[in-house]
């Protein structure tokens, strides 16, 4: 079953073509890494898929549903969630409030104006489970801006995951974490996103080879390679881009 289908997607900023006629098919349950040097268009690709930026041309489908012209929140309800490279958690709210917001986002009770947000037992239980999993339940009443960067990163991913998306986009999930944290983090994501379709942009090869079962290489707005991590490692063109060509 095709989870995500992108056909002929283009995006330009003025004269600069950031994405040129990109097509991509992702099967259900696949974990796809999008790699490429700085400025290759990875974040733009995720921004266009998630609706942050409008596409200039092309079509996008999630499980057969056309999402090309949809508003961002509609895409979420269609089953697409994303996280951000720059951590965007709700700093003035507690961790519990942060997770409640995310869980509530998919439910009609988000328009409920009278009953206390903390009176929804199922949602609280779900938030508790999530925060327990992240090891942050003890800190549930702390403000998100006061916890450490690594913990904020976890919340960032957890917000997107608690929407129970069918397709999850992660933009540089390990951005700014140190080596030890990254390895823990990979395990965490693997654990939480096991049966989900995952598309993530990454720089860090530990993350790429730790998480992905398929890698696509984006280079100046075009896919130049597509294959398993081993195939990509051996691909001469990719080596050339990443390591440069030996001068003769």
């Amino acid at each position: 079953m095709e989870a995500l289908r992108i056909e002929g997607l283009s995006k330009n900023f003025g004269a600069l073509d950031v994405l040129k006629d990109i097509s991509l098919r992702v099967q259900k349950g696949e974990h796809v890494a999008v790699i490429g040097p700085n400025g290759a268009g990875k974040t733009t690709l995720l921004n266009v898929i998630s609706g942050e930026l409008p596409a200039d041309a092309g079509k996008m489908h999630i499980f057969g549903q056309d999402i090309t012209g949809m508003a961002r929140y509609h895409r979420v309800h269609a089953g697409l969630a994303r996280s951000f490279q720059v951590t965007r958690v709700f700093g003035s709210l507690t961790l519990l409030q942060n997770t409640l917001l995310a869980i509530q986002g998919m439910r009609p009770s988000r328009f409920q104006m009278y009953r206390s947000a903390f009176a929804y037992e199922k949602i609280i239980a779900k938030a508790e489970k999530l925060l327990q999993l992240l090891g942050l339940w003890e800190k549930k009443d702390e403000l998100a801006r006061t916890i450490s960067y690594g913990e904020q990163r976890k919340i960032e991913i957890a917000l997107s995951l608690s929407l129970e998306p069918k397709v999850l986009l992660l933009d540089e999930p390990s951005a700014g974490l140190d080596l030890g944290e990254v390895l823990d983090f990979i395990e965490l994501i693997k654990d939480m996103a096991r049966e989900k379709t995952l598309i993530f942009a990454a720089h860090d090869m530990d993350v790429v080879f730790g998480l992905a079962d398929r890698v696509v290489v984006l280079y100046y707005g075009q896919f130049i390679a597509d294959g398993t991590p081993e195939e990509i490692k051996a691909n001469p063109k990719v080596r050339e881009i990443y390591l440069g060509v030996r001068q003769k």
């Binding site: 961002r72 969630a81 988000r110 009953r115």
Partner: protein, 328 residues
């Protein structure tokens, strides 16, 4: 469950603050002069107005300078119904005025919420000034720049009850308490939590499945309706409503009340309303012509030295003396 308390205890804890405040204010009635009743009534009306402003500014991050438009439309609608159309029953005038405000807010919301941040501020400012101008020019209906004069106390239609300052004072206390309760519930509901999320990062909320525009639109209308209700009572209290009650001077006053009182919780603006009104009274006794200067200084003082408004500092001070029994 972690949050479960015995039901009767949580029920008492939920209602006690409102009941105690209400009874305390009502119990004062026989002991204070009509002038003090007038003063407290004015504070409570402004408090509702400021709290509704804070619903937009403090909770939703919507920095509006046109909030007085709703306050004034409420007051004018009530005044026009009573004076021009001879409809006196409070139970008709209040809902009709609130409905009118709802319609105005529904239209203004569509226009103003096309923009964000500074541009939103300017559009709301322009819409407020537009209302002020309409009220100035439409003399046959609004009385022009003289305002609408001679609005009587509301007629509650209760047999044997003639409205006087004491009864009006009690009526306003009831409205104030109910508004506090409703606003507190609203800001702690899932909808209210979503507003806080939108204030912090609207884009992130969109990616969590929230139609952020709709949330902002709804809260813009709800805030307007509370402001309109305050405007109706204000017209009854003063007996007059003038175009300035629709424009920037009144909007700014609400904003100053919110900032001076503190925007972090529902009740901060009520403290701000009390502070500003009392300060105005004191200055009108000693140096009436220096009022703007004093208000400006108070604002600067709070912004520089009492960051976050009076209320959080007051709570901290009181909790040091263990005076405060409950905390919100």
């Amino acid at each position: 469950m972690v949050f479960r308390k015995p039901i009767w205890r949580s029920q008492i804890a939920q209602w006690a603050p409102y009941v105690i405040t209400g009874i305390a204010l009502v119990a004062l009635t026989p002991f204070i002069s009509d002038y003090f009743k007038y003063l407290i009534t004015k504070i409570l009306i402004y408090a509702v107005f400021a709290m509704s402003h804070n619903l937009l500014y403090g909770y939703s991050g919507l920095f509006t300078l046109g909030h007085a438009a709703f306050f004034g439309v409420g007051g004018y609608t009530a005044g026009i119904l009573i004076i021009r159309y001879d409809i006196h029953s409070f139970w008709l005038v209040l809902p009709a005025s609130i409905l009118m405000v709802l319609l105005v807010a529904a239209v203004f919301g569509v226009i103003a919420l096309q923009a964000k941040g500074l541009f939103f501020l300017f559009i709301t400012l322009a819409l407020g000034q537009l209302c002020e101008n309409v009220a100035t020019k439409w003399r046959t209906m609004t009385g022009g720049s003289n305002g609408l004069v001679g609005i009587p106390y509301p007629d509650l239609g209760l047999p044997g009850l003639t409205m006087n300052p004491s009864y009006f004072y009690i009526l306003v206390i009831c409205v104030f308490i109910v508004s506090c309760f409703l606003l507190y519930r609203l800001t702690h509901s899932p909808f209210g939590e979503a507003l806080k999320g939108i204030r912090d990062d609207e884009g992130r909320m969109a990616h969590l499945g929230y139609n952020t525009w709709l949330h902002k639109y709804l809260v813009f209308i709800i805030g307007g309706m509370f402001a309109g209700m305050a405007g109706v009572l204000f017209g009854h209290l003063n007996g007059i409503i003038i175009p300035a009650h629709l424009g920037i001077s009144t909007s700014t006053m609400a904003m100053l009340m919110v900032i001076i009182g503190g925007s972090a919780n529902v009740f901060g603006p009520a403290v701000g309303a009390a502070a500003v009104t009392i300060l105005e009274l004191v200055s009108s006794i000693y140096v009436p012509e220096r009022w703007p200067l004093i208000l400006g200084s108070a604002f600067v003082f709070v912004v520089l030295l009492l960051r976050g408004g009076i209320t959080p500092h007051l709570v901290r001070l009181l909790s040091r003396f263990k005076v405060f029994i409950w905390k919100h």
